[in-house]
Symmetry: C2
């Protein structure tokens, strides 16, 4: 938590710097973008990007563009997921969702603009900008996050199985965690072996994160959504999250104590209660 807090201010500052001012024309668009980006997120994915860079002797300065890019991309997915034709959610983090606050067309376009700004920001990385853009795009596209979202929508309300659930978790969630550590590593000059280790760590952590999310959601008394808990049961989900976190720690074997921030975030994500 302390490490997440220390990354968070740097990430907030960078997001504020790369987002156009709210007053710039068209103001409604820039207000909507800022409304959704500054909504109180924990900035877990950017913290992973920064921690991955530290693991290789880089730090906040080298990784900040990659870190901001992954958070901009994450925010676009939340705006589009909430739209009426998708999950149709009226609230997000206790406030009106973007389309409730700014209208459906403006929310759709704010998401499009944040996705675009994510790539612009990634391409401004001082190190390996093209490789960082490619890592983000592969994770975010039709074989990644978008593909996972399509599978999630197709499965909603229908009986599902573990292989469908795994496809959704792997793409909708874990692909972006994997990209976060990969992008952070690239910004610190990671070689091929380091990238293999970081990708394995990111993937396993992302899968564990989603199981813990589903466990926490299932504790909500009014939750009726279909999730991994309905398929695996609470005990197996909890055990699988722990085993994935152990797998993530193993993947960091090649690194020494410089990987401690990555380990600390992974432990926090497994043990969190919100």
């Amino acid at each position: 938590m302390a490490y997440l807090g220390s990354c968070r201010q740097a990430v907030e500052d960078e997001l504020d710097r790369v987002l156009p001012p709210a007053a710039q024309t068209p103001a409604v668009l820039h207000e909507a973008m800022r409304y959704s980006v500054f909504a109180g997120g924990k900035r877990i994915r950017p913290a992973f990007a920064i921690a991955a860079a530290e693991c290789l002797g880089g730090g906040c300065r080298t990784a900040i563009a990659a870190a901001a890019a992954v958070e901009l991309l994450h925010t676009y997915t939340l705006i589009h997921d909430d739209l009426p034709c998708m999950d149709d959610d009226d609230t997000r983090r206790g406030r009106p969702s973007c389309h409730k606050a700014f209208g459906e067309a403006n929310a759709l376009l704010a998401g499009d603009a944040l996705l675009t700004l994510a790539f612009e920001t990634a391409a401004r990385s001082p190190v390996a900008p093209a490789a960082i853009v490619r890592a983000l795009a592969v994770a975010a596209g039709s074989r990644g996050v978008v593909g996972g979202q399509v599978a999630d929508l197709a499965a909603t309300g229908q009986p599902s199985d573990e292989s469908t659930m795994h496809f959704i978790h792997a793409h909708k969630t874990a692909d972006l965690f994997r990209a976060a550590v990969e992008m952070g590593g690239l910004s610190a000059g990671a070689d091929a072996d380091a990238l293999v280790a970081l990708r394995a760590f990111g993937r396993a952590t992302g899968l564990a994160f989603q199981l813990v999310d589903d466990l926490l959601d299932a504790d909500e008394p009014d939750d009726h959504s279909f999730s991994s808990i309905h398929i695996m049961g609470r005990e197996r989900a909890r055990a699988h999250a722990a085993s994935l976190t152990a797998e993530a720690m193993d993947a960091l074997g090649p690194f020494n104590e410089a990987a401690e921030p990555l380990r600390a975030i992974a432990r926090y994500l497994l043990e969190r209660t919100t």
Copy 2:
């Protein structure tokens, strides 16, 4: 027209290569992406990218990634513009629009995936990938195409003025034409002076293209949409398109006969009847 035809096959081949196979999971997503990309477009923006590269001694091979990227991005804007919360168009190029054929959520996500693939493709350019990504993102984002679309939606059905119309044309249309020639130029190693000339050419050609589009639309007997023709009148719009095309030709002053393909496309766009 002959030049456009010669570029077109190379562009179609590259688009087919970078798009995932229609059968790949989730198949509905990859089918929707291909349905909209292969809908019979003239591929004008990719032709501009290739012609700009030729102008600097490059050619189809160096510019093909940039060319495909700009067309993928253009296709995403068409899918999202047609959605019910935007222009709510049921048809596009004589066929059902993407959301009519695949459903609203799948169309939204197909657009997101094409936008993402545009950046992945741009980042695979063999020359200047990061600069090409940045040129595309700046043109496509909240201060470019998306900003123009927000302004267009805000103006719909209301009395408008020339300055609003200019903002919409400059961002919704001309920014992507400017990016196309800029990206093509970058792929052929353009220096700062060449980029200034190419950007001025692209911007003026894009503005002229939109005026000609509005003139052709106004000839349709059932057209009731609000356009520049209502503000400027037919004669002034026609004269302004010609003057912008002349301005575009002037911008190519620094180049010799290598700029002939760029000039030929600009002339064709002014004189076209469809």
